[in-house]
């Protein structure tokens, strides 16, 4: 799972906050979470497809 750090001003996307620390493999301009490396990252399946999921403390849908 990948995300830009910070807000998403005037951009489409999902803005969220989480207590889960990003993982090694992250960079100053890119936060990442990998389910197989972090027990707090959950693996969920939908329609036979795997998704890495993290609990969020805030959420804003900025999709058009």
């Amino acid at each position: 799972m990948k995300a830009y750090p910070g807000n998403l001003p005037n951009r489409r996307g999902i803005e969220f906050t989480t207590d889960i620390e990003p993982m090694p493999g992250s960079a100053p301009n890119e936060a990442r979470w990998y389910w197989e490396w972090c027990p707090k990252v959950l693996l969920r399946q939908k329609d036979g497809e795997d998704f890495a999921c993290i609990p969020v403390t805030g959420f804003k849908n900025m999709q058009p």
């Binding site: 910070g6 990003p22 493999g25 992250s26 960079a27 100053p28 301009n29 890119e30």
Partner: protein, 233 residues
């Protein structure tokens, strides 16, 4: 060693390992558009030798996206020493100054903050290659000093030090003097682009030679064959 531009992107997931305070167009002419599970990006794929593959990418939402590129390696390159070795090699082989590296794997960082080195400014040894790149991007692979000065700010994020007034010529900025010096007639030593045979002087400017294009190809800036240049060039 030679940095080769790859025609196709890396067919694997990639991890960011360095952020370079230079626009993508500074690094390469061969820019393609892509999209992955993060976002849309512009970038290019490269190889060094048979074993090293890497991408330079700028995602739409990256901070300082106009003036930085991020270096990505395939996910299977995980050993910290190997990552560090490859990052160092890429920087050297693409002729990128150490001062341009704003962050690299192993350095501490704060999410959302990319800080440019205060040492990073336009110096003559870098501007020699920069003007070669700019001229190579122009029709006839040539440029006047006026054109070079017009284009430099598109390729290099001029620092406040670069933009300060020249002590010797009050009506010019320091970076403009650096550009002038790089192509001035008395600079014909072996380290100049003329001494290396990478460019030849033309009235009011310079023209990139076949050898110059070969050099730019070798650092991943271009992948042109130079077939439209005569042997004399």
């Amino acid at each position: 060693m030679t940095v080769r531009v790859l025609k196709y992107d890396l067919d694997t997931d990639v991890t960011p390992h360095a952020i370079i305070w230079r626009p993508l167009r500074y690094c390469t002419l061969v820019i393609r558009k892509g999209e992955d599970d993060l976002d849309k990006f512009e970038g290019a794929s490269f190889a060094i030798g048979n074993d090293i593959r890497f991408d330079l990418r700028v995602y739409q939402g990256h901070i300082h996206s106009e003036v930085t590129v991020t270096l990505y390696l395939p996910d299977d390159v995980r050993d910290e020493n190997r990552v560090s070795e490859i990052v160092s090699l890429v920087i050297v082989e693409m002729a990128i100054p150490d001062s341009a590296v704003a962050w690299r794997r192993g350095q501490t960082f704060q999410f959302g903050k990319v800080i440019r080195s205060p040492e990073d400014r336009l110096l003559e040894r870098e501007v020699r290659i920069l003007i070669l790149k700019i001229a190579a991007s122009q029709p006839e692979r040539s440029a006047t000093i006026g054109k070079l000065r017009e284009e430099v700010p598109r390729y290099f994020d001029l620092s406040p030090a670069d933009q300060s007034a020249s002590p010797s010529r009050k009506n010019e900025k320091r970076w403009q003097i650096v550009v002038r010096n790089a192509i001035s007639s008395h600079k014909t030593g072996p380290q100049t682009i003329f001494g290396q045979g990478w460019a030849e002087k033309i009235p009011g400017g310079l023209k990139v030679t076949r050898r110059g294009m070969d050099y730019l190809n070798s650092i991943g800036f271009s992948d042109l064959s130079g077939s439209d240049l005569t042997d004399d060039e």
